[in-house]
C-alpha cells in the first residue's frame, strides 16, 4: 500500500519508470522514515512524526502489535464473554489475577491500549489513503509518459519487422492497444528529437489502485459500523420457561447490555410467548445422545395488543421482529414443584429452571426457595436417571426418566432483608439442614419432610430456553463494507498497472519499418504480465503480417 522503493527508479528509461514510481511514493523518504533525522522547529517535529506514522514500517509494527495484542484476549478468560470464568481465574490465581486485571488483560478488546493500537493503525491508514486518492485522481488525468528512447532495455521487450511505414505501423499498434482499453499518448507537435518520431505510449490498470483504496477505506467503514453498533445497539438475554410470556422491556430481561446511547424506551415493544420447546437427540449409533435438532415454537406480537403471529425459532434460524433479532441460544429443564408448609397449605408452586452442569447428559443444578414456608432446597435434576454405584447419573439428555435429588433446609432464607439474591443460589447461613437428605424423587412423588415441616412434590417437568435479543444498526453497514473490502482486494491483487510502448523506425532496407515494443509493470505485481506482453506483442506483430520473428538474431547480445 505504501510506496515502492527507489530501486525501481534506478532502472533504465528513468522517465518511463520514474514517474511510474513517483505516482505511488509518498512524500520523500516516507518509506524509510526520517532518514534526515529530527528537524529543529516544532512544525517540523509534527511533520516528521506524521511521516513516521504513515510509513510502511510503522504500519507493519502496528499490525504485528495488533496480532500480538489479540493473543491474551483468546487465552485468558474475558469479562465480556465469560465473567464466571474470570471469577474462577481469580480464585485459582490469587496473586497473578489482580496484576493481569490492572493491565486490562481480562477485557483486552475494550482496553485502552488495544484501542490505541487500532486507532493508530487507522490513523496511519487514513494518512496514507487520502493523499493516494488525490494522487490517483491526478494520475488519472495525466497522460502516460512518453516512450523511452531505447525500448530494448525495458524488462519486457520485443521487436519485429513490419511491411508498413513507421507511421502506419504505430497507428496500427495504437488501434490494437486502444482496442484493449489502454490509455494512449502520441507525440505532440512540440516534441523534438527522439520525443518526435513515431511512437505510442499506452497505460492500463488504474483499477488496481482504486481497488487498493476501496479495500482500505472499507476497513475504516467496518470500524465505523462497529462503533455505530456499539453506540446504538444492545444485547439482552432472557430465560423463558415453556408456557411463559415476556415483554421486551429492561426489567424483564435477565441481562441487558445497552450501547452508550440506548435508553430503555428505545427497546422494540414486542412480546413473545414460548409455546413449546422440542429437542431431539440421536438415539443410536456412535453419536447417541448428540443433539439432532432444537425447535422453539413461539407466538409473538410486534406491539402490545398487536397481531399475534407464530414462528419456530431454531439454531441458525432466528426470529426477526422489527429490526430486532431473537436467537435460540440454550435450553434446559424446569421441573415443577409444589411446596406445602407445616400447616399443609400450599406455599410455593412454580416451574423452577435448573441449569445444566453437563451439556452432554443435561444433568442440571437448581434451587427451590419457599420463603413463606421457611423452606429451601438445592439439588440436581436428571433427565434420564440411572443409579450407578449409589451415584445418580443421567444416561441421556431427553427426559425419558426424570428424577430430582434434593437437599432440604429449613429456617430463614434471608429474603426479607432486602439484599438481592441470585435466584439460582440458596443462602444457607441461618438455615439448618433437614435430615434424610439428599432425597431422590421421581416425577409425581412427594417428600414429606421430617418434623412436620411440610412437604415438597415433584409435580411435572417443563423445559426452558434461553433467548438472545439483539439489535445492531451497524450490522448491515459492516457487511457491506466487508464485501466491498473483498472486491477491492481482488481488484488490487489481480489487476496490474502496466505500460506498453511502441516505437517504429524506418527499416535499414528502406521498405517497411522495424518496430520495437516494450512493456513495464509495477514490480510487486502478481505477475502474469509476461503472458499478456507476449500475446500483445504477437497481436501487434500479426497486424502487420511481418517476416517470422527473429529471436535468434539477438541471442547472446
Amino acid at each position: 500500500m505504501h510506496a515502492p522503493r527507489s530501486t525501481e527508479s534506478a532502472e533504465p528509461s528513468d522517465e518511463a519508470t520514474g514517474s511510474f514510481g513517483q505516482d505511488d511514493s509518498g512524500e520523500a523518504g516516507s518509506g524509510t522514515g526520517g532518514t534526515s533525522g529530527p528537524p529543529a522547529a516544532s512544525a517540523g517535529w509534527l511533520r516528521w512524526g506524521w511521516r513516521q506514522l504513515t510509513s510502511m514500517r510503522t504500519a507493519l509494527v502496528l499490525l504485528c502489535l495488533l496480532a500480538l495484542g489479540s493473543v491474551p484476549g483468546s487465552v485468558l478468560p474475558q469479562q465480556g464473554s465469560d465473567p464466571a470464568a474470570v471469577q474462577q481465574y481469580y480464585a485459582s490465581h490469587h496473586w497473578l489475577a489482580p496484576w493481569l486485571n490492572r493491565i486490562g488483560l481480562f477485557n483486552v478488546f475494550a482496553s485502552p491500549w488495544f484501542a490505541a493500537i487500532y486507532l493508530l493503525l487507522f490513523a496511519s491508514l487514513v494518512g496514507c489513503v487520502v493523499p493516494r486518492t488525490f494522487r490517483l485522481a491526478g494520475s488519472a488525468r495525466t497522460p502516460p509518459p512518453r516512450a523511452p528512447r531505447n525500448l530494448a532495455r525495458l524488462p519486457h521487450s520485443a521487436s519485429y519487422a513490419s511491411e508498413l511505414s513507421p507511421e502506419a505501423a504505430v497507428d496500427a499498434a495504437a488501434s490494437v492497444l486502444g482496442g484493449q482499453r489502454f490509455r494512449l499518448r502520441r507525440p505532440a507537435s512540440g516534441d523534438v528529437g527522439h520525443d518526435a518520431g513515431h511512437w505510442v505510449s499506452a497505460e492500463k490498470g488504474y483499477l488496481r489502485e482504486v481497488g487498493n483504496l476501496i479495500f482500505h477505506l472499507s476497513l475504516l467503514g467496518v470500524l465505523i459500523a462497529i462503533a455505530i453498533g456499539g453506540l446504538f445497539g444492545y444485547k439482552a438475554d432472557k430465560l423463558l420457561v415453556e408456557g411463559s410470556t415476556f415483554a421486551d422491556t429492561t426489567s424483564a430481561l435477565d441481562e441487558f447490555h445497552p450501547g452508550r446511547l440506548v435508553a430503555g424506551s428505545d427497546l422494540a415493544p414486542f412480546s413473545l410467548t414460548l409455546d413449546t420447546f422440542t429437542a431431539t437427540y440421536l438415539t443410536s449409533g456412535q453419536s447417541a445422545g448428540q443433539p439432532e435438532s432444537f425447535s422453539a415454537k413461539v407466538t409473538y406480537a410486534a406491539t402490545p395488543g398487536g397481531q399475534q403471529r407464530t414462528d419456530n425459532i431454531e439454531v441458525n434460524h432466528p426470529l426477526s421482529v422489527d429490526s430486532v433479532k431473537v436467537y435460540l441460544i440454550g435450553h434446559g429443564y424446569a421441573p415443577v414443584f409444589r411446596v406445602t408448609n407445616a400447616k399443609g397449605q400450599v406455599s410455593y408452586e412454580q416451574a423452577t429452571p435448573f441449569i445444566p452442569a453437563n451439556t452432554g447428559t443435561l444433568l442440571s443444578d437448581g434451587v427451590i426457595k419457599a420463603p413463606d414456608a421457611s423452606l429451601g432446597f438445592m439439588g440436581v435434576f436428571v433427565p434420564t436417571a440411572v443409579m450407578t454405584n449409589g451415584t445418580l447419573e443421567s444416561l441421556f439428555p431427553a427426559a425419558d426418566n426424570p428424577a430430582v435429588s434434593l437437599i432440604g433446609y429449613s429456617g430463614d432464607l434471608g429474603m426479607n432483608s432486602g439484599v438481592p439474591q441470585s435466584v439460582y443460589q440458596l443462602d444457607t447461613t441461618g438455615m439448618t439442614k433437614i435430615s434424610g437428605s439428599p432425597h431422590l424423587m421421581y416425577q409425581g412423588q412427594t417428600w414429606k419432610l421430617p418434623g412436620s415441616r411440610g412437604s415438597i412434590t415433584y409435580v411435572g417437568t417443563k423445559q426452558w430456553v434461553s433467548l438472545a435479543v439483539t439489535y445492531d444498526p451497524g450490522q448491515i453497514p459492516a457487511l457491506v463494507c466487508g464485501l466491498l473490502a473483498i472486491a477491492g482486494l481482488l481488484l488490487s491483487f489481480f489487476v496490474r498497472r502496466r505500460r506498453m510502448f511502441v516505437r517504429a523506425v524506418p527499416a535499414a532496407s528502406g521498405a517497411g519499418s522495424v518496430v520495437t515494443v516494450g512493456g513495464l509493470t509495477r514490480s510487486d505485481a502478481s505477475g502474469g504480465f509476461e503472458d499478456e506482453f507476449a500475446s500483445l506483442s504477437a497481436e501487434l506483430a500479426g497486424q502487420d503480417r511481418p517476416a517470422p520473428p527473429n529471436n535468434q538474431s539477438e541471442t547472446g547480445a
Binding site: T7, Q290, N316, S523, G527, A534
Partner: protein, 368 residues
Amino acid sequence: MAVNLGMAHVSSDFMIVALLVYSLAVLAFAGDYAFGRPRRATASAAAPEAERSTELAAVGAAVGAAVAAGSASAAEVPAGQAVTGGGSADGAAAGGTAQGVPSPRLGAFRSIWAAGPWVRGAVTLSTVGMLAHLVAVVSRGAAVHRAPWGNMYEFITALTCVAAIFFGYIVVRYRAWALGVFVMGAVVLALGLAETIIYTPAGPLVPALQSYWLSIHVTAMTLATGIFFVAAVLGLLYLVAERYRARIAAGKAQAGNGLLDRIPSAAALDKLTYRTAIFGFPIWTFGVIAGAIWADQAWGRYWGWDPVETWAFITWVIYAAYLHARATAGWRGARAHYIQLLGFASLITNMLVVQVFITGMHSYAGVN
C-alpha cells in the same frame, strides 16, 4: 438422515489409498532428485548472471530468458528448466522476452514427459493419489449427506485435497515439479495425522452446524488453508534456497549438482510464494466474513472475540503484514517470509490448539 455406512467405508478406504499413493509419489519425487536428469547445471556457470537476474526478477523480468541466453541446447533446457523466472519458464525455449516476439509455450505435459522417468512417475502417482483423495472426500460427503468438512478430521482431509490440487495447478502452470517432495511430503504428513490421531467416524452434525453457511464459510476456510499450506511449504523452501544462494555468493559453498541446486532459485520461489499467498488471502478474508454472517445467524452477534474468531483475525492480520512487508524493499527478502510463516503458524495454532483446547463457542472439532 442416517449415515450411509457403505459410502463411509468407501471414503475411508479411498483415503488410505490416497495416502499410500501420495507416499509413493513423494518417493518418486525424491528419486528424481537423486537419480534424475541434471538441472540447473547452468546455474553455476551463470552465477554472476544469476545476480543480475535476481535484480531483474525483482522488477518482473523473465529470468529464464537471461539464464537461457547462456545455456546449451534449446532442447535440453526446457525439459530440465524448472521454475526460474516464476511464470515464464517457457521463456527458455521461446527465447524469452529479451528478443524477438515470444513464441507460444511448450506444452505442459510434454515438458513433464520430457523431464525424465522419475518426474513422469511422480506426477502420475500424484495425480492418481489426487483422484483417490477426491473420491474419498466426495464419498464422505455422500455418506453424511452434507458438505464433508464438519469436524477436524474432515477439515484436514479436505484441505489437503485442496493443497494437492493446487500443487497440481502449480506444476502445470509453473513447471514446479521440483517442489514435489516438499509439498506432497507435507500433504502426506498432514493426511497421516488426520487418519491416525484425529480420525472421526462419519456422523451427523450438531444443530449449531446445520446450516447452509457450512458450505460457504468452512469451504472458504478449507480452500484458503489449503492454499496457505502450499505457500508455507514454498516459503520454507525459499529460506533454504536463499541461504544457499547467499552462501554461494559469499564463497562459502560450491554450486554443484546436489539437492540444493535442484530446487528452484530463491527469487523464483519468492515470487511463487507471494502469488500463492495472495491467492489465499482474499479467500481467507471472505471466509472470515462468511463466518461472521453465520455467527450472527447462530449466536446473535457477528463478532464476539471468541478464541477461534480471534485467532482467525490474528492470522489475517499477520498475512496482511506479510503483504505490506513485501511492498517495502527493505523487508522483501527472508524477513517477509518469516512473517508469512508466522501467519501459517498462527493458522495451525488456531486449527489444532485453540479449537481443541480452549473452550469457546467454536469447539466443533469433534476431537476430545
